[in-house]
Subunit: 308 residues, 2 copies
């Protein structure tokens, strides 16, 4: 049985998009990641919540094979983010960020988590990511995500953390910011030059790319009728990607497995955006995911044989 | 032998990008289209140039199987556009547009062009596009391109022209503007609702999409090391797309042919952007194109079989 550990946020989001408002719904990177990854593999979740976080949601995660032993509940209020998206649904304008219990988050892994083979360090302060990593005995695959805030504010520490990982999963704009280049190929060259083996670039509705040294893989996004709320899409992508790789076991680094993991990430994320918060993701199951994978195959296939 | 007709501009471009300046180089939609399409099929070119347009370039086109009988040379100066691109190379800022001989362009098809089976109406005033179309006897495939200027200024006339075509090839942003929607699926629904059978959406470095009723096809762009100048990429795409379809003959509307045509369009356009003006496109040949097609196949393939 594979053992996939994630550390990230669990919290509330208050979201406004052109399609509606959703006050104080369940959010957080570890939440989206765990729900997405659990479609492929058992998950061990690390995070912190306050007194106001509903036990029912933790129970819901447990039902899906997500171990929440590592979710600490402390006094005080849960992390709460408020954001607003414009008509293009690209980037959110942050209206408020209340770190609350996250401010003093000092993750300690339960003993039962320390043998985790697959590790995803969600978007957190690089120091916190490193602290989690140092508690895992012998990881086979380490991946991480990050954001502008750490790229501009803690660049050196972030690069040190990236150097310890096998895979960096990052938004396109943030990758360019990190590498200080406008060319995506130059960006990949710079980041892989730091020693991380695989770079996954998330491009929102434009899909995703995978760079491994000289090998490139790129896929478009699934065109969707009903995009309501992009919150959590990136973490759902990471969850689908890592969940699929964890299900591949020690063979995770085979190029075909990595490529299919990118496709799975896109397929899972395509559910997330179809409703507010994690609603659509929580309604997803293996059968629906298989159908969407088949839709994706149809979307992208073309005849490859013969001469021009 | 297939007969592919294009009407569009032939002119000069003065271009500035972060990678250099190119004063008064050969440009124009019919120029890029013809060069790209000639990699697959003979081309018949319709346009107008002034006294200052080099005969040597028309001779160069002829050498590549491009019939320039329909290129009218009149007194006055040739069309000249000047533009500047920012670091992201997305959209050009127009610095100057001198229509010159284009101002009174009233295309008359040579008798030898009137039996053309494949017709591409490059980005021109919708009335001019219709005038060309009315002179073709029995076209099998009509495609057109357009731009913001006509979408906002001559909307009704443009929609009438689109209704006469089989394929609309258009930039993503302009498609949304035309359909008045931010959703790409809604956009496709609206445009196809006017009766045009196939919609091709150009997404620059993000690739291209094809919508046929309920069938979607989407591909990413080729990640390139050396993008110097995006001018002409869209027309090169259209040339590759239409040239490939013309080479398929009466079977052009088979889904596999249309899909492969989109891939060919992207492959051809990937040459164009690698140098200023049409330099890199003119250096392309069937062998190089075949190699790039194979690179594209490698870029996009993933295992499609089996259960999740």
């Amino acid at each position: 049985m594979s053992s996939l550990l994630v550390v990230g946020t669990l919290g509330f989001d208050t979201i406004e998009t052109p399609f509606g408002k959703a006050p104080k719904i369940l959010g957080g990177s570890a939440n989206y990641f765990s729900l997405a990854a659990s479609l492929f593999s058992p998950v061990r979740c690390v995070g912190v919540v306050g007194e106001d976080f509903p036990q029912s949601h933790l129970d819901e995660l447990k039902k899906r094979g997500i171990d929440v032993t590592g979710v600490e509940r402390t006094g005080g209020k849960t992390f709460h983010w408020s954001g607003k998206y414009g008509t293009e649904l690209h980037e959110a304008e942050t209206l408020a960020t209340h770190l609350n219990v996250l401010e003093t988050f000092d993750p300690k892994l339960p003993e039962s988590y320390r043998d985790s083979e697959y590790v995803f360090l969600g978007n957190l302060m690089p120091g916190v990511q490193q602290k989690v990593l140092s508690q895992v005995k012998n990881p086979k695959l380490i991946a991480l995500d990050t954001m502008n805030f750490w790229i501009t504010g803690m660049r050196e520490q972030l690069i040190e953390t990236i150097k310890k990982a096998h895979v960096l999963i990052i938004n396109e704009g943030e990758a360019r910011l990190l590498a200080k280049s406008h060319s995506i190929v130059e960006t990949a060259k710079t980041i892989l030059g730091w020693g991380v083996k695989h770079l996954v670039i998330k491009r929102g509705e434009y899909g995703a790319m995978l760079f491994d040294g000289k090998d490139f893989f790129s896929i478009p996004g699934l065109p969707l009728h009903d995009v309501k709320d992009p919150t959590g899409a990136g973490d759902s992508f990471a969850g689908g990607f890592m969940g699929y790789l964890a299900s591949c076991g020690s063979d995770w680094s085979a190029p075909d497995n990595l490529r299919r993991a990118v496709v799975m990430g896109c397929c899972v994320a395509s559910f997330t955006v179809q409703d507010f918060g994690p609603n659509a993701l929580m309604a997803c199951n293996t059968k629906l995911l298989q159908e969407r994978f088949e839709t994706f195959v149809k979307l992208t296939q073309f005849p490859k044989d013969g001469k021009i």
